[in-house]
C-alpha cells in the first residue's frame, strides 16, 4: 500500500527535485544580466543626465575635464534611423504585400521568403562592408565619402527583413472572408489590399516595424565605417552628405577612450538609448497583450 503515497527518498523523486532546482537556477542566471545591465545604466548613466547633455557638442578627448554633450549624436541617430525607415518601410511593406497577397506559394515566393531569412542572418557588419564598397569608396553620392545617408542605407538593409516578415505574417492573419467580401462587391485587388487587408493588419505590422526601428537605432557595426562620427552640430540639409555621429558610435568610441569624462558621456548616451529602446519594447508588448485579450472576447 505504501507505493500509493509520495515517497520523498525515491530516486525518481530526488532526481526530479534536483532537475527542477537546476531549471530554476538556469532561469535565475538568465535574468541576472538584464537586471545588472539596466541597473548599472540607470545608476551610472542617470547620474550624468542634465540639460547640457542634450544641447552641447561633445568635446574631443583630451585633458579638459568637461566632455560636453551629445546633441549631434542624438540628432544623428534620429536622422540615420529615419533615413533607414524611409528606405526599408516602403520596400518591406510592398514586398510583404506581394508575398502575402499576390504570390501563390510558387518557387519565386518560396525563394524570396528564403532570401528574407538568409538576409536576416547576414552579420550586421557585412551590411556596413557592403555599403562601404558600394557607396563610400566609390563616392557615388555626389562625391561624398562617409555620410549619414550611407549609414542610413546600411541600417535599412538590416531593417528590411524584419519589415517584410512582419508585413507578410500580419497580412496572413487577416481572415480570407474579408478579402472575399471586398472582391465580391467588385473592388479591385488594389483597393482590397489598401482599403481592407492592410488596415486590418495595421496594428501588428506597425508593432513589428516599430520594434525593427528600435533595433536599428542601437546598431553600431554598420555605422562605424559608413556614417563614421562627428563632433559638430548638425545644422542643415547638406550635413547629410558628411560624417554624422550617432549615439551607438559615440558609445563605442568613448567607451574605449582612457579619459573618465568621455566614459561618462558613453554611459549617459547608453542611458538614453536603452531607456528609449526598452520603453518602445515594453509599450508594444503591453499593446500586443491588450489586443490579444480584446480579440478573444
Amino acid at each position: 500500500m505504501n507505493s500509493l503515497y509520495y515517497q520523498k527518498k525515491l530516486s525518481r523523486n530526488v532526481g526530479d527535485k534536483f532537475f527542477t532546482s537546476l531549471s530554476v537556477f538556469c532561469a535565475f542566471i538568465a535574468i541576472l544580466p538584464l537586471i545588472f545591465v539596466v541597473t548599472y545604466i540607470l545608476i551610472k548613466g542617470g547620474a550624468q543626465i542634465n540639460s547640457d547633455l542634450f544641447t552641447l557638442e561633445p568635446n574631443p578627448p583630451g585633458d579638459d575635464l568637461d566632455a560636453g554633450g551629445i546633441n549631434p549624436a542624438l540628432i544623428g541617430t534620429l536622422i540615420i534611423t529615419t533615413i533607414a525607415s524611409i528606405i526599408a518601410i516602403p520596400v518591406g511593406v510592398g514586398g510583404g504585400i506581394y508575398l502575402a497577397e499576390y504570390s501563390k506559394g510558387g518557387p519565386f515566393s518560396k525563394f524570396i521568403r528564403f532570401g528574407v531569412n538568409v538576409l536576416a542572418g547576414v552579420p550586421s557588419i557585412i551590411a556596413g562592408v557592403f555599403i562601404y564598397a558600394l557607396i563610400v569608396s566609390t563616392k557615388i553620392l555626389f562625391g561624398s565619402m562617409y555620410s549619414g545617408l550611407a549609414g542610413g542605407m546600411a541600417l535599412s538593409i538590416l531593417m528590411l527583413p524584419t519589415v517584410i516578415k512582419t508585413t507578410d505574417e500580419g497580412l496572413k492573419l487577416v481572415p480570407n472572408e474579408l478579402r472575399y467580401a471586398s472582391l465580391g462587391i467588385g473592388a479591385s485587388m488594389y483597393t482590397t489590399i489598401l482599403k481592407i487587408t492592410l488596415p486590418s493588419a495595421f496594428r501588428s505590422i506597425a508593432t513589428g516595424v516599430v520594434l525593427g526601428i528600435a533595433r536599428a537605432a542601437g546598431e553600431t557595426a554598420p555605422l562605424i565605417f559608413t556614417a563614421l562620427f562627428s563632433y559638430y552640430y548638425i545644422v542643415g540639409f547638406e550635413d547629410l552628405f558628411y560624417e554624422m555621429g550617432s549615439l551607438a558610435v559615440l558609445i563605442y568610441n568613448f567607451a574605449l577612450e582612457p579619459y573618465d569624462a568621455q566614459n561618462k558621456l558613453a554611459w549617459a548616451a547608453s542611458f538614453i538609448l536603452v531607456i528609449s529602446i526598452l520603453s518602445v519594447n515594453i509599450f508594444s508588448r503591453i499593446l500586443a497583450a491588450f489586443t490579444e485579450k480584446t480579440k478573444r472576447v
Binding site: 530554476v24 538584464l34 548599472y40 545604466i41 510592398g94 514586398g95 557585412i126 562592408v129 479591385s188 551607438a248
Partner: protein, 315 residues
C-alpha cells in the same frame, strides 16, 4: 413600364483603373525581388572586392596568421580561429542555460505570472544594443571576473586554454558576453518549440507513470529537438557575426594563442577595427575576411532553415 430602383449598375472598369491594379501588383513584385537583389549584391560585391587578395594568397589566407600591412602579408587564421572558438564555446554554455530556462518557462513549477515575467525579461535582454553590453562588459564585468580569471590561471594553468596570464581584455570575456547575447535567442526559440509539443504526449507519459523529468527528457525534449537545434544554429550564426560587444572586450590582438585568457581576434572585430584606416591591399584582404565570415554565417543559416523545414510539423 414602372420605374426600377437601381441598386447596382453594370459598369466596366476603365483602362486606367485596370492599369493601376497591374502597376500596383508589379510594383510589389519588384519590391519583393529587391530582397534577392540586395542579397546577391552583397555576396557579389564582397567577392569582387576580395578578388585581389584571393588571387594573391588563395586558400593560404585561411591558415596563416601573419597580418602585416607593412610587408603586405595577410592571413586570417587567428581571426577565423577566434570566431569559431568564441562562438562555439559560448554556444556550449548557452545551450543548457537557455534550454533550462525555456523548460522553467513552459513547465508549471511557479505561478504563471512569474514565468511570464522571466520570459519577458529574457526577451528584453535581446533588445539591449550590443554596444551597450560592450560598455557594460568593459566597466562592470571585466573587474568582476578579474579575480576569478587569476584563480583559473593559478589552478588550471596546466590546461592550454588557461595557460597565459589573464589579460585585461581577453577571449574568455568575449565568450561570456556572447553567452549573454545568445541566451535570449536560444531561450525564446526553445520555448516556442517546447510549447508546440502536443499536450497528449505529456499526458500519455504521465499516464504510464513517468515522473515529470522523465517525461521532459524522454518525451518532450526529443519531440522539440528539431526546433531547438534550429534555434541553436541561428544563435551560432549570430555569434559568429556579432561585432560590437566582442570587439570592445576581446582585446584585438592578431598574435595567435591557445589560451582563452589572452587577447584574441574575430573576423568581425578585425573588420570593425581596421576597416576605417585600411588602404591598399589591406582593404582587399579585409574584404576576403568578410567574405569568409559571410560564407560561414550563410552556411549555418541555410542549414538551420533546412532543419526547420525538414523536421517541423511532425505532429
Amino acid at each position: 413600364m414602372e420605374e426600377k430602383l437601381i441598386l447596382f449598375k453594370n459598369r466596366k472598369r476603365f483602362g486606367i483603373e485596370k492599369n493601376i491594379d497591374i502597376i500596383f501588383k508589379n510594383t510589389t513584385l519588384v519590391l519583393s525581388s529587391l530582397v534577392a537583389v540586395v542579397l546577391f549584391g552583397i555576396i557579389l560585391v564582397v567577392f569582387i572586392q576580395s578578388f585581389e587578395s584571393f588571387s594573391r594568397y588563395g586558400l593560404n589566407f585561411l591558415v596563416t596568421s601573419e597580418w602585416n600591412p607593412v610587408k603586405d602579408e595577410y592571413g586570417a587564421f587567428t581571426a577565423i580561429y577566434g570566431t569559431l572558438v568564441t562562438s562555439i564555446l559560448s554556444l556550449l554554455i548557452t545551450i543548457p542555460l537557455g534550454v533550462g530556462t525555456a523548460i522553467f518557462i513552459t513547465e508549471d513549477f511557479v505561478p504563471k505570472f512569474v514565468r511570464e515575467i522571466v520570459g519577458s525579461f529574457v526577451e528584453l535582454l535581446a533588445a539591449i544594443p550590443s554596444v551597450v553590453l560592450g560598455l557594460w562588459a568593459i566597466f562592470v564585468m571585466e573587474p568582476f571576473f578579474r579575480d576569478f580569471f587569476a584563480f583559473l590561471h593559478n589552478f588550471f594553468g596546466w590546461i592550454p586554454l588557461f595557460s597565459s596570464e589573464p589579460a585585461g581584455r581577453n577571449s574568455l570575456l568575449a565568450i561570456i558576453i556572447l553567452v549573454v547575447m545568445l541566451l535570449p535567442i536560444v531561450t525564446s526559440i526553445a520555448r516556442d518549440s517546447l510549447n508546440q509539443v502536443p499536450k497528449k504526449l505529456r499526458n500519455a507519459a504521465y499516464g504510464i507513470g513517468a515522473s515529470r523529468w522523465k517525461t521532459i527528457f524522454s518525451v518532450i525534449l526529443p519531440a522539440a529537438l528539431s526546433g531547438i537545434m534550429a534555434g541553436v544554429l541561428l544563435a551560432l550564426g549570430r555569434a559568429m557575426g556579432e561585432t560590437m560587444a566582442v570587439t570592445m572586450i576581446i582585446g584585438n590582438s592578431n598574435a595567435f594563442s591557445w589560451s582563452l585568457l589572452s587577447p584574441g581576434y574575430t573576423i568581425s572585430s578585425m573588420l570593425a577595427n581596421q576597416f576605417g584606416e585600411a588602404d591598399g591591399s589591406q582593404v582587399s584582404s579585409l574584404f576576403y575576411a568578410a567574405f569568409v565570415l559571410m560564407i560561414l554565417s550563410l552556411v549555418v543559416n541555410i542549414f538551420a532553415q533546412w532543419l526547420v523545414k525538414k523536421f517541423s510539423l511532425k505532429y
